[in-house]
Amino acid sequence: MTIVGKSKRSPTFRRNRWMLSAILAVIWLYTALPLFYVLVSATKSNNDLFTTFGLWFSDDFRLFENIGQVFSYQDGIFSRWLLNTIVYATVAGIGAALFSTMAGYALAKYDFRGKRLIFAIILGAVMIPQTALVVPLFLLMSKVGMVNTPWAVILPSLVYPPGVFLMRVYADDAIPNELIDAGRVDGAGEFHIFSALTLRLLMPGFATVLILSFVATWNNYFLPLVVLSSAEYFPVTVGLAQWYATATVGSGGGAALFTLVLAGALISIVPVIIAFIVMQRFWQGGLGAGGVKA
C-alpha cells in the first residue's frame, strides 16, 4: 500500500511498511498466545500451574516427565488415541481425495445422462450441515451393528462433497480434452487414460482435497463422540476432552489431570503444525486454486 510511486527506498514506503508490519505483529501476538501458553504449561508441575505466572516458565522444568505421564496414564491409552487419529485421518483423507477426484473428473470430462442432476445434488449437499446428520447416522448405524467400530468414523468421513466440487472445477481447467482424445485414438481404455495420463495433472487438486479432508477428520469431535463408546477406538479429540471433563469437574484426583491435559494437547497439535509448515507449498497453492474458484 505505497501511497506514491513504487520505489522501495522512498520514505513513505518504509514508513508504511513499518506500520503495516506492526499491525500484523499485534495479530500475530494474539494468534501465538494460546500456543505459547500450552507450551509453557506443559513444562510445569501441577502445583506450579496454579502458583506461578501462566505465561512464563517456572524454575521446575517438567516437560519430559509430563510427556512420560501422558503416555503412561491409564495404561498408555493416549498413544492408542494418537494412532487412531492418524489412521482415521489418513484413510479418510486419501479415500475422500481419491473418490472426489474420480467423481470430479467424471463430471468435468464426460457427457452422460443425469450429469446436471448429479452435480446439482452434490452442490446442494455442500449446504447441508453434516453435523445435523450425526444423530440420525448413529441411529442408522446402530441398526446394522456398525457403531463403536473404526468404520463408524472412517466411512462417513470419506464423503466430502466440497472435494467433488473443487475437483470438477480443477479437472475442467487442468486437463485438455485433446489429451483424452489422443489417449482414445491410441486405443487406451478409459481407466488407463485416467490413471496413466490425467491423474498426474490432477495431483495439485488431489493434494488440496487430501489436506482439507485430512484436517477435517483429524479435528472432528462430534461424530466420533456420538458413534464410539469404547475408549480404545477414541481419537485424541474425544479422549482428551474426556480427561479435560474429569479434570475440570472431578474434585480430588481430577485436578492432578490438568498438566496431563495440557501436555496431551501439546503432543497432539505439534505433529499437525509441523506437517503444515513442511507441506505449505501444497496447501498454499491448492487452497488458492479452490478458494478463487469456489
Partner: protein
C-alpha cells in the same frame, strides 16, 4: 480384424459406462452416509415411541413440536447472535491481513502468512480447552495479571460474556483460514490491472480498496455463507465449556447440543431426529435468505 473389432466394442461400452464407474464409489458412500440418514431422520420423525403405546405414526407432530419448542428456538437465537458477533470481525480482520500481505508492503511476509494460518491445524476441541484454561478464574493468566495489578479479575464465563468468549475461540481458529483464501484470491488478480491503475496515477491504497476488494467480494460472500452454516452447527466449543460453566451453558444451548441431549440423555430418538431435520431446514432457509439479501443489495 476380429481382435480389432472386439477391442473397439469394449472401448465404446467403456466410454459410456466410465463416468458412472468413476462416480460410483463417491455416489455409494454419499447415498449410504448422507442421503440415507436424512431419509431415516425423516421416517423416525414421523413416528413417536411411548412406553405405553409403543411406536405409532404421528405425521407432522414432531416437526410441529420442534418448530414451537422454545428450547429449539433458544438455541437458534443463541447461534444467530453468535454469528452476528463472530463473522463480521473475522471477515474484516482476515481481509485486512490478506490486503496487507498482498500489498507486499510488509516485513517477513511468508512468516506471517504461515504462522497466522497455523490455528487451523489445531482441533476445535483442543483450542477450546486451551482457551478454557486461559479464561479460567482459578489460575488463568488474565486473572493472574488482574490480581497483580490489583484489578478485579475478568470473568469470561458469565451469561453475558459467554457468547463473545466462544466467538473469540472461533475467531482464533478460523481467521487464518479465511485469510489464506482471500489472499489467494487477491494474488490471482492479474498484475496488468495494477499497471493500468498506476498509470492513471491511482495510489496503491485506493487501488487495493476500490479495485481489488470489489473483485473478490463475490468470493467473500460465499465464505460468509459457509461461515453461517458452520455457526449453526456449533457444538464442540459449548459442549466443552459446559464443564466450566454448567449454569450458563445448559444442555440445549445450541440446536446440535439439544439434539444430542434428546437422543443420548432422554432417549427421545424420534423427537431428536425431528430437531436435526428442522435444524437442516432452518440452516437452508437462513443461507438462502442471506444470498437473496446480498443479491438484492448488489443490484441497487
Amino acid at each position: 480384424m476380429a481382435a480389432l473389432k472386439s477391442r473397439t466394442r469394449r472401448y465404446r461400452v467403456s466410454k459410456r459406462l466410465a463416468p458412472y464407474l468413476f462416480l460410483a464409489p463417491f455416489a455409494l458412500l454419499f447415498i449410504a452416509f448422507l442421503i440415507a440418514p436424512m431419509v431415516y431422520a425423516f421416517t423416525l420423525a414421523i413416528y413417536k415411541t411411548t412406553v405405553v403405546g409403543g411406536t405409532r405414526f404421528v405425521g407432522a407432530e414432531n416437526f410441529v413440536r420442534a418448530l414451537s419448542d422454545p428450547k429449539f428456538w433458544q438455541g437458534v437465537t443463541v447461534l444467530l447472535q453468535f454469528a452476528l458477533i463472530q463473522i463480521p470481525g473475522m471477515v474484516a480482520v482476515a481481509l485486512l491481513i490478506a490486503l496487507i500481505l498482498d500489498s507486499g508492503t510488509v516485513y517477513a511476509k511468508s512468516f506471517f502468512r504461515v504462522s497466522l494460518f497455523l490455528p487451523y491445524a489445531v482441533p476445535a476441541v483442543i483450542a477450546t480447552l486451551i482457551w478454557g484454561y486461559l479464561y479460567g478464574p482459578a489460575f488463568g493468566p488474565f486473572t493472574q495479571l488482574a490480581n497483580l495489578l490489583g484489578l478485579p479479575p475478568p470473568n469470561f464465563l458469565t451469561p453475558g460474556m459467554m457468547l463473545p468468549s466462544i466467538a473469540n475461540i472461533a475467531n482464533w481458529e478460523y481467521t487464518g483460514y479465511q485469510m489464506i483464501i482471500y489472499y489467494a484470491a487477491l494474488q490471482a488478480i492479474p498484475a496488468d490491472l495494477e499497471e493500468a491503475a498506476s498509470m492513471d496515477g491511482a495510489s496503491s491504497l485506493i487501488y487495493a480498496l476500490k479495485v481489488k476488494l470489489p473483485l473478490i467480494v463475490p468470493m467473500v460472500v460465499v465464505t460468509i455463507i459457509f461461515s453461517i452454516i458452520g455457526s449453526l452447527q456449533l457444538f464442540s466449543e459449548p459442549y466443552l465449556l459446559h464443564n466450566l460453566s454448567p449454569t450458563v451453558i445448559n444442555n440445549a444451548y445450541t440446536p446440535n447440543y439439544y439434539a444430542y441431549t434428546l437422543a443420548f440423555t432422554n432417549q427421545q430418538y424420534n423427537y431428536s431426529a425431528a430437531v436435526s431435520f428442522v435444524l437442516g431446514g432452518v440452516t437452508a432457509v437462513i443461507s438462502y435468505a442471506f444470498m437473496l439479501i446480498v443479491n438484492r443489495g448488489g443490484r441497487t
